[in-house]
Amino acid sequence: MSALLSVDNVSKRFRGLVAVDRLGFTVPEGSIYAVIGPNGAGKTTLFNMIAGVHAPDGGEIKFAGERIDGLTPDKICRRGIGRTFQIVRPFPGLTVEDNVIVGALLHRHDVADARTHAHEVLRRLDLYDKRAQRASSLTLPDRKRLEVARALATGPKLLLLDEVMAGLRPTETDRMVAILRTLNAETGLTILLIEHVMRAVMALASQIVVMHHGAEIAQGAPADVVRDPAVIHSYLGAEDV
């Protein structure tokens, strides 16, 4: 498996605060990677750099062999990176279907064509029956899946998911996990997710990157990472004293 995304020695400072500190990892094509860490560890900043919202202060980010750091979000999306937002932001006044059509139109010029594709994506995300509803009328779990649907409709090679499980009930979490696994298995889509819900992380990720204070403190297979003393200390918490 070749590296689809490589983050190399990347840093980002906001005035005095070092949000991301010389972070590096590579995500092979077709894999599911998770980034975990306590609040304020720099996970979202890392995502925003990959997605083009912020340019890194140092280091480089390569996608499919080409440098993408510093490109604008729309250019990065056109290269094949789809993203969701931590605080969901579907287009509230548009219907569920139209939300996804917008994504599908990125690489399609015909609206009817895009609609057909949008329907496929909506079926995958269990939203087909709600396609005529306004996005603003959806419940949180539905809105989270709509975010994924819209990002997916742009036809990404890499999907960045920023806490899509947060606020979901366990059954909803399992549903999302199942959807993402199927996607990964059937389409070979590479997924990089930020997640706090360990239940989802353990079920999905083949590799975990743990961040703390902007830096990586552990990286490896889920079973190893959760036993790492540094990770337990800074994030997971010890069960016994």
Partner: protein, 334 residues
């Protein structure tokens, strides 16, 4: 293209629109001079409202300076006609690109430097005001003393030179309104339309979905500005006089946005309905007051204010979304 025009519209909506069109076409046959003048105003505002709606209703960019584009179209066509006898349709070929250029200038400044929301609106006002002051000193178009088109008694209608009876202007504006409605419907149901709506709803999310928001916002301004300039050409040749103080004045810009607000921002039929409600009722009101011997200056403005208040309080989405639901005409964007 025909399929895309009618797709999602109920048969009832199509029949109703056909009936309205027939009525509008036949109107000059039974309308007196006064009513015709009112109808001309209505379609002027329906057309300009539709053009403004592209920016605000579709792409979510608030322009409070659309008088700029009216003025550019008006002055371009009128001055070329007065100085060189150039037909207004050819003048439009100069005016529309100039208006588009002015729109592109404002758009570039604002969108490149991330000036949005209220600040963008202020920028549009500022440029329109610059134009007003500039034209006040622009001697080639007679500066503040005004540009007058030669007027004589016309027996026939010269469509090429736009010299003729009010009824000619009525049909021109009606045709423009219908064309704008069709054009906007096609735009809204196309890729561009979807991207505009996405930008209107959430610009950052739109960018994350791969949309080059700068490009599509520029398109909205340029199309809207060029469309609006045509109304300026009609304005100049209908009224036969142009004063910078009047044409570019901010109250002209505000007038343009009232109809779509009352009718429903972002809807296709809203600007037309809003123009009928506002201009139609305001003129009826002044007429009725005159008939009973009451003449209150500014009653129209007060009426506009009341209308706006009523709509904002009772139907914040405008009258059209509510009315279309009542009439059973549900369909996307219609």
């Amino acid at each position: 293209m025909i399929a895309r025009l009618t797709e999602g519209l109920t048969a009832r909506a199509l029949v109703l629109m056909g009936a309205l069109l027939v009525l509008a076409l036949a109107a000059p046959m039974f309308a007196g001079d006064y009513l015709l003048t009112v109808l001309i105003l209505i379609f002027y505002f329906a057309y300009t409202g539709q053009a403004w709606n592209i920016m605000m209703g579709f792409a979510g960019q608030l322009s409070l300076g659309h008088a700029l584009y009216v003025g550019i179209g008006a002055y371009a066509a009128a001055s070329l006609f007065v100085h060189f006898g150039v037909a207004p349709w050819l003048g439009l070929l100069v005016g529309a690109p100039l208006a588009a250029l002015a729109g592109a200038f404002i758009g570039y400044l604002a969108f490149r430097f991330r000036v949005g929301g209220v600040y963008f609106a202020i920028l549009t006002i500022a440029v329109a005001e610059f134009a007003r002051v500039g034209f006040d000193h622009f001697t080639w178009v007679n500066a503040s003393s005004g540009l007058f088109l030669p007027v004589k008694q016309y027996s026939g209608n010269d469509l090429w030179h736009l010299r003729g009876q009010p009824v000619m202007f009525y049909y021109l504006l009606l045709a423009a309104t219908v064309a704008a409605l069709i054009g906007c419907r096609l735009l809204l149901t196309s890729r561009i339309g979807y991207f505009w709506l996405a930008i209107r709803e959430d610009e950052e999310a739109a960018r994350a979905a791969g949309i080059d928001t700068f490009h599509y916002k520029m398109l909205a301004v340029v199309i809207s500005a060029a469309m609006t300039s045509f109304a300026g050409v009609i304005y100049a040749f209908y009224y036969n006089n142009l004063f910078p103080e009047q044409v570019f004045h901010i109250s002209r810009s505000i007038e343009i946005i009232l109809a779509p607000i009352v009718g429903g921002i972002g809807t296709l039929f809203g600007p037309i309905l809003g123009a009928f409600i506002l201009t139609g009722l305001a003129e009826t009101l002044t007429g009725a007051l005159n008939a009973v011997g009451v003449d209150i200056p500014g009653v129209k403005q007060i009426f506009y204010g009341i209308c706006l208040l009523a709509v904002i309080l009772a139907l914040p989405d405008g009258v059209w979304p509510w009315l279309s639901q009542r009439l059973g005409l549900k369909g996307r964007g219609s």
